[in-house]
């Protein structure tokens, strides 16, 4: 498969989103019941994410520049592809906002239902935590980013 520089650059973004989801999301998944202040090693994790992101993109784009020395022109076709893929990303983002609102509402509703059962322990455990919100938002961001980039890649290959 013969890939252009732009297509490689999109692949770099897709790989980053997938690797980020596989490496860092499990940490937030494990800590979703906690509040941010109680999460073990949160600062270290954030520093780790920032440093690994910088290293990944520096290396990836350096390799890309070495492989494709020639500068590629950015033209109206790229603008059209970008606008189409960002539009899709925006639509998924809007849709995911509804999912997020539904998630928050269901948490509160279930908590109230547990309150009615009188089970205090379950009631106390069933909370909408900072960790839960952060995890949910990160999952949505990773999902939107992957779909948007895949669509962008598809358009570059087919349009």
């Amino acid at each position: 498969m013969n890939l252009s520089k732009k297509e490689f650059s999109i692949l770099i973004e897709i790989i980053y989103s997938i690797v980020f989801a596989l490496i860092f999301l499990p940490y937030f998944y494990e800590n979703q019941e906690k509040n941010l202040i109680l999460m073990d090693g949160l600062i270290e994790k954030i520093i780790q994410i920032i440093i690994s992101t910088l290293i990944y993109f520096s290396i990836a784009y350096s390799i890309l520049e070495v492989i494709y020395k020639k500068k590629e022109t950015r033209d109206e076709r790229d603008d059209m592809i970008n606008s189409k893929s960002y539009k899709l990303g925006y639509l998924i983002y809007e849709f995911s906002l509804f999912i997020f609102i539904g998630y928050v509402c269901s948490k509160f509703q279930n908590k109230e239902l547990l309150n009615l059962t009188g089970n205090q322990q379950l009631y106390n455990n069933f909370q909408l935590t900072d960790g839960g919100i952060v995890f949910f938002v990160l999952v949505l961001l990773a999902f939107i980013s992957i779909i948007k980039s895949l669509y962008q890649f598809y358009l570059h290959r087919t349009v």
Partner: protein
């Protein structure tokens, strides 16, 4: 009605490669390929630049079928 073009034939007749024509009108080689394969419809500005570069009337270059 589908918008088609004679870009490939006229480009070859004028002795341009896709890369050269793209550079002259300020677009990438991929964009020229896409136009020639009828996958991408250029803007009026690009269509006019192409016609001007290939020294042909725009309606001879692009046509409906």
């Amino acid at each position: 009605m589908v918008l088609k073009n004679n870009l490939k034939e006229i480009r070859q007749k004028n002795g341009f490669t896709q890369e050269e024509l793209g550079t002259d009108v300020g677009v990438s080689r991929q964009t020229i390929i896409s136009i020639e394969r009828y996958r991408y419809k250029p803007t009026l500005e690009l269509a006019m630049k192409l016609a001007q570069k290939l020294n042909i009337k725009i309606e001879k270059l692009f046509y409906f079928e």
